[in-house]
């Protein structure tokens, strides 16, 4: 078989196979997308619980934090300010934010997150922040 004809046949076969493979599976899906599941950018598998807590509490309205695509500018960038910090430090920063106020920022953060966030959710949030600031 001539090379050009063989290449044309191979391309044609690949296109037909790709077209048939998309049938019944959501033809326009993006590469790597699992059928029927929502994929959150920057995560694999199920979205971390801490991300949902971060979104629910509106943390990103004031703080920047890359893993949450948060771009708040009123409070410290958590990607930087939490880098290298312990989970205990992060927990204290949430439940007692006045304990240590970042330089150049006011003591603006509401002090009642210990009451607002359920203990299990707080654990998830701390883990999410710790993991995200280690990247």
């Amino acid at each position: 078989m001539r090379p050009a004809a063989a290449a044309l046949a191979a391309v044609g076969a690949a296109l037909v196979i790709a077209a048939l493979a998309t049938a019944g599976g959501g033809g326009g899906d993006e590469p790597g997308q699992s059928a029927g599941r929502v994929q959150v950018e920057g995560t694999t598998g199920e979205p971390p619980r801490g991300l949902a807590v971060f979104a629910a509490q509106g943390c990103g309205s004031c703080h920047s934090f890359k893993p949450a695509n948060a771009q708040g500018i009123l409070a410290p960038d958590l990607t930087l300010s939490l880098a290298g910090r312990s989970e205990e430090y992060i927990r204290t920063s949430i439940v007692a934010p006045s304990a240590e106020v970042a330089p150049n920022y006011g003591d603006m953060m509401p002090p009642d997150y210990a009451q607002r966030i359920a203990p299990a959710d707080l654990d998830a949030l701390v883990a999410f922040l710790a993991e995200g600031s280690r990247r």
Binding site: A14, Q33, A55
Partner: protein, 170 residues
């Protein structure tokens, strides 16, 4: 006072006052969930300074995919500072979304992009959420594929046909 000095003081005042004014007018936005599919009912909690529920505003969820943008307004739920929006993404694929709080709208409240199951909506003809997203054969791939398969043997036979054609008599 020299005119130049006045101007300098005015600029300095603006530089100092602008961030303070901005900080005094901010609101936080909390979402009851992140997108769960192309159909996403969500409650938006808007708190002034992260503390005081804000009523009588209209927060909006803005979803974007390339040139396609849709905006969904939140309706009061009766709970202080809580608004309900029913977001319907026009199709699957990667979507960015953000919330305008309706208070200052100074900055959008951003969240991680999501990739939703289902067909990617064309900007020219968005696929309704209720449309069948189970998928059919993708004609954009199938038609060129079949044409290429048909063309391959023709390409193969063409030179032979030329060779077999009788030489013109001189």
């Amino acid at each position: 006072m020299y005119p130049g000095m006045r101007l300098l003081l005015a600029v300095l005042f603006l530089l100092v006052a602008a961030p303070a004014a901005h900080a005094g007018g901010f609101a936080t936005v909390g979402l009851s969930s992140t997108p769960t599919g192309t159909d996403w009912p969500v409650e938006i909690t808007v708190l002034q300074h992260g503390r005081t529920p804000l009523d009588n505003i209209t927060p909006r969820v803005v979803v974007t995919q390339g040139a396609t943008t849709r905006t969904f307004a939140g309706e009061p739920t009766g709970k202080p500072g809580v608004y309900a929006a029913h977001v319907v993404f026009p199709g699957g694929g990667r979507w960015e979304y953000s919330v305008r709080d309706g208070f200052t709208d100074a900055m959008p409240h951003t969240f991680p992009a999501v990739t939703l199951p289902g067909r990617v909506a064309s900007p020219a003809s968005p696929v309704p959420a209720s449309a069948d997203d189970g998928g059919g054969v993708d004609l954009a791939l199938l038609i060129p594929g079949v044409l290429a398969l048909l063309a391959a043997p023709v390409l193969l036979l063409l030179p032979r046909a030329r060779r077999r054609s009788p030489e013109p008599a001189l």
